[in-house]
Amino acid sequence: MSSDSAFVRATDAVKAQLRTRLQPVWAVLCTVLAPLDRAIQPVADLYNRSLGRHFGTMTGLQFGVIALGFGMIATVPFWSPFYSETLNITFAVASIWAIFAMSWDIQSGYTGYISFGHSVLSGAAGYTIGLLILHYDPSMGPLVTIPLAVLASLVLGLVIAVPSLRLRGPYFSLITLVGVLLFTNLIFAFSEWTNGELGIHQVDPFTYEPWIRYYYMAIPMLVIAVGLTYVARSNVGMVLLTIRENERAVSSAGLDPTKFKISSFVLSSIPMGIGGALLVYYGRAINPVSFVEISNSIEIIALAVIGGMGSIIGPLFGSFLFFFLEEELLRDFIEDSSTRTLVLWLFVLGVLVFARNGVFRVVWHALGAVRGDSE
């Protein structure tokens, strides 16, 4: 189709060149990593036999990397001071956004009905807490407000999903985008309740102790990751994937795709609500800029895209990578925050254009192929 264009042809040629040049490097990597892969294989097999059918089977190296990744996430407060003082905070924020990205993924990444409106769901949860504390009872604790917030997010998810999932492709994305604009407009229109631009600042945090705060964010994130991976690898996840690939096939099998699409949206709005609530208690404030505005929805999508849509674990690592780049690695080189954000957006753009399946997925398949026995 686009083979008519000289620019596309030139880029393809460069890509092919790069592939041949990198071949020797890959060969060296394989010879180094293959023994390691073989060494971990017995442990991985133990996992494959017990939990593999629920969460997917892995090769030795894949298992090793996942175990290392989760191990590092679980012990951030212990090793982060050796890297930097702020890493604790960065990864706490990354955990919250990982919840958003994974929630988005189970709905949009799996069904292919791309939602541009997920920030509305976390916003609904956040504003529920804010409004309750500001106007109803300032002494309400998180044990009361969080369930209500999740409920609000769930109800709003249904309100959005039921009518909008009748639409397809770009029309669905459009209507969810409109949902964000509408929600933002309403917050400003009812400024006497929501404090408009300034937002609500009367929320007390869970705790001021940074390392405990990290676990307040990371533990729910890990639970959600396990739960969503389980769903994604189950029959339900299979149906959702089939909706993305061939919706008619789902109908032919006697299943109602609309029901599954709505369930996936609801399934996604529950963790969105949890994430929104955590973000309120983390940042102690709720305002349109950091919750609802369209850039938040796009950031959620960006995290999922970097990691790899339709894999749950991909968006998790995508989120940690993104925030590590933004708050830690790039901060050493680029002082100006707008330039840093620009660099990150260009990175996302590059992933979209040249590796639309995501960074994590590329690494994952490479790890699985060091012994050359799979694709």
């Binding site: 620019f7 492709g169 029309y171 509408l182 309403l186 796009i298 707008s338 330039t339 040249f354």
Partner: protein, 302 residues
């Protein structure tokens, strides 16, 4: 600040022409490539800031020192700049992803967000204003009879918008290269069979749509102000107008632009500025559910 009904009506009619211009560029790109260009608002913003860079000495970027050109010189340069930017956007990014509407969606909105950061970096996050019509040439406001306090820049914007729309109409109906654009938007296979180079047509459409966005952006910035977030409001307007008018239809865009222009101005005037966007968005939702092909359009096919 309530003004008389005649003034409101005239203001609505003037701003609607600008809306039409913005929406036409958006709908043309959809017509030939099936691409919803979410960076269209960013192109408008590029127009406003390119003009600022050329005509005011408040901002400067490397290579281009800040300069103060006469508006009549700065305006066409700004428009051409945006047209070229739009063309580059297609060649460098969009043509790689246009086979997948969702990836295109994402890529173009990421471009818009990146553009915001570029503007913040070079021009700051603050609101910038500029005058497009030199005050020694024309008074800044005009009025006649019951109509008063109309901004001259809005009148000029109205005239220029209609000239641009007229020229565009001549282009797509009277010239071969314009007719190729129309043919491609009707049926791509048909256009290919009659020897149209579809790829070249797409690139040309982005150039033309970019020029329209450039004109729209300069006037939009002059009529209100230029800010790093100014792309979102017109983008959502373009959406609303294009969906209501029918995606891909130029005629529909003009009709819908007037509908929305009057609705927004009326709501903004009588219910308050905060409600300005809400009613149009609700109308858009209603149209999407009840009349997804819009007033004059064809439904989008995957």
């Amino acid at each position: 600040m309530l003004s008389g009904l005649p003034t409101v009506l005239v203001n609505a009619a003037l701003i609607s022409a600008l809306y039409a211009l913005i929406a036409i560029g958006f709908t043309m790109i959809f017509g030939v490539g099936g691409v919803l260009n979410l960076a269209h608002g960013a192109l408008l913003m590029a127009g406003a800031y390119a003009y600022l860079l050329l005509a005011r000495d408040t901002i400067s970027v490397p290579v281009f020192e800040s300069m103060t050109l006469h508006p009549l010189i700065a305006f066409p340069i700004a428009v051409v700049t945006v047209a070229v930017l739009s063309y580059l956007l297609y060649v460098v990014i969009v043509q790689f992803v246009e086979d997948n509407p969702i990836v295109t969606f994402l890529a173009t909105i990421v471009v818009a967000l990146a553009a915001t950061e570029v503007v913040i970096h070079y021009a700051g996050a603050s609101t910038q204003t500029y005058t497009l019509i030199p005050s020694d040439l024309l008074p800044s406001t005009v009025g006649f009879g019951p109509v008063d306090g109309i901004l001259t820049v809005d009148v000029v914007g109205f005239v220029v918008s209609w000239i641009a729309i007229g020229l565009l109409w001549l282009y797509v109906t009277k010239t071969d290269s314009g007719r190729a654009i129309r043919a491609t938007s009707m049926t791509e296979r048909g256009a290919r069979l009659t020897g149209v180079n579809v790829h070249a047509v797409r690139a040309r459409t982005w150039l033309v749509a970019g020029a329209l966005a450039g004109i729209g952006g300069v006037f939009l910035g002059a009529s209100s102000s230029a800010t790093p977030g100014m792309w979102l409001q017109p983008l959502s307007l373009a959406f609303i107008i294009v969906v209501i008018g029918g995606i891909g239809s130029i005629k529909g865009s003009i009709v819908a632009a007037y509908l929305i222009g009057f609705l927004q101005t009326g709501v903004g005037e009588y219910l308050g500025q905060n409600f300005r966007g809400i009613l149009s968005l609700v109308l858009l939702i209603a149209v999407l559910f009840m009349l997804p092909q819009g007033l004059f359009g064809r439904e989008y096919h995957e």
